[in-house]
Assembly symmetry: C2
């Protein structure tokens, strides 16, 4: 078995406005440990799959930047001509990788998550890969929830699959983002895990399941697996017919061959300035300077992103995200930062594409 | 009698950082009605003194900008070689103006105050000028306090001077900035007025009083009145010997020839971002955009100063001053904005003269 890592880098970059933009989405943000989320994801991918079996799926507008940032050869940067959500991205990768390695097992990794413990991550991915290969199943990693978050999908965990795969469980069902009250119940139940969007499966198995549960998508993209090279015209034709749907909805929630591996390491999808602040330890006692030149801050609990050489002074404020991106400025209460998208929408509605 | 207006434009520009700077102090800020405070002061000065009798006293670093902004001839822009506080500025102006108009009556106006009602202002200045000329006294305009402000000096008002000058009173004493409790008592007393730093007196009278109460200053600057032209070297020599003291302390608090004219119009020295916000009607229900491009503000009570073309978005915040000066950024609670000076001091201590 060879394990290939497929990094999905198709994000829109709205939630970290104005630091992130359509052209510079979240994976390119240098947010934790001075490294971009994409760099950190690549490191994890190399750790589990080895240098030669790391792939990225991305849109045309980011392909060049991703090749430059990752150092990957063009053959392993799969460029989608239009955005068609994650099911198409996974199918595209599975088809291309199958051509060079018919027995490939894939680990699918979103490009913009934060997982501090790379070693623990790699260990669990390998366990999941063994189960996926031996049992021909789709394995999703499930993260133990630490708070009643209503922004995530949950996995309702079933019985253990047995001695052959210790720790691996069946999935009773996937649950879409619950309301707060239900999320609190899930947290107490001990039976519900966050669906982190990290999947492990054989390329052949996921293609079978896509064929079974998303036949339109399978039919649209099938030609991409037929030849050693794919022309831009063919790619565009295939994608033009492909439905846009998440892999969770298209396959994971429907397939009867889904298992889950509960994991114990810390994970964040770094969804908002607030969750990033949480990862960085911003709290009542301390602010955090992500970038730039904070010359004065008599408050605490602020997350600051500035531009080098342009000093920022904060007086009497706390619990804020202050983001000076050079051509745009955000001052937001951290606990309202899930609404940042509304700002981007408002700017787009005003035709301000220069700053979105 | 000819009334001359003397605009004092010697401010340091720290309290409106980062919009104001050492090189671009408060009078140059475009803050109310799209006009700079200096422009508005010039309009008032022209209204009371006429185009040909408006003078400015300023430092070397601002002379060129002031000539350009006011359109005044160089002969009426009196440039101080070093900063020596207001007593020296007033003496310098009185000496120079006396040479061209020995019977001149001066109205001294700080360059950075806000007085919306120019007509009422002009009427009261003329009344004060009549009293000053007829009785050879120093008249200070006293503003009825509207709040217990502990940031101003107060005038303890005495008896009316009599029928010849209706509304004009003697001054019992000047009181330096009181504490909050005392300021509250003053507000209730009805007998205490804010010392607005607007003075009316004959040039000859103020020079006599400076001679009597600040003889060192009088001696140092006397040569400036002796000749039609003053060389730069002589000016520097005179200023080098002049003590640095406010006209209030040097003369007004000591002279027995001080009267006051209580006035009823609205006045602000626009001392902080908070007081400016007050002038602009910023409150729980509304924010105010002074400059720039506020693309999103779901809060209220914010005062925003930005740069054109650089959008600012505020999310969930209120009661803030958000000041993006291009090369520096301030985010401050308005009710803490009297502490902005501490930021400038901290920057100076760090050697960051580029942004102070």
């Amino acid at each position: 078995m060879s394990l290939h890592a497929v990094i999905l880098a198709g994000g829109a970059g709205e939630r970290f406005w104005p630091a992130s933009r359509a052209r510079r989405p979240k994976p390119f943000l240098r947010v934790v440990g001075g490294r971009t989320l994409l760099d950190a994801t690549c490191l994890r991918a190399r750790k589990v799959a080895g240098e030669a079996r790391v792939w990225v799926v991305c849109g045309r507008e980011h392909a060049q930047a991703i090749r430059r940032a990752t150092g990957l050869p063009a053959s392993r940067v799969l460029v989608e001509p239009t955005r068609r959500n994650t099911a198409a991205a996974v199918a595209f990768a599975a088809l291309r990788i199958s051509r060079v390695d018919p027995d490939a097992v894939l680990v699918v990794l979103p490009a913009d998550h934060h997982i501090p413990d790379t070693a623990a991550f790699a260990r669990d991915v390998r366990r999941a890969a063994t189960a996926a290969r031996q049992a021909d199943v789709l394995v999703t990693l499930g993260v133990h929830p630490t708070r009643p978050d209503s922004g995530y999908g949950y996995i309702d965990v079933g019985a253990a699959v047995g001695r052959a795969h210790p720790g691996v469980h069946r999935v009773r069902q996937f649950v879409e983002k619950p309301d707060r009250r239900v999320a609190e119940r899930y947290l107490r139940s001990g039976r519900h895990l966050w669906n982190a969007g990290i999947f492990v499966f054989g390329a052949r198995v996921i293609l079978q399941e896509i064929g079974a549960h998303a036949p339109e998508l399978a039919a649209a993209l099938a030609p991409l697996g037929a030849r050693a090279r794919v022309s831009a015209a063919q790619l565009l034709r295939c994608y033009g017919r492909a439905p846009s749907v998440p892999i969770d909805v298209a396959v994971m929630e429907k397939s009867r061959r889904v298992w889950t591996l509960p994991v114990r390491w810390r994970w964040s999808d770094v969804g908002t300035w607030e969750s990033l602040a949480g990862e960085l330890g911003v709290g009542p006692g301390s602010s955090h300077l992500l970038a730039g030149d904070l010359v004065y801050d008599d408050g605490a609990g602020n997350l600051v992103w500035g531009r080098s050489g342009r000093p920022i002074a904060l007086l009497g404020v706390s619990g804020l995200a202050v983001v000076d991106a050079g051509d745009a400025l955000l001052v937001a209460r951290l606990d309202r930062s899930h609404e940042v998208r509304a700002i981007v929408q408002a700017l787009k509605a005003k035709g301000r594409l220069d700053v979105t």
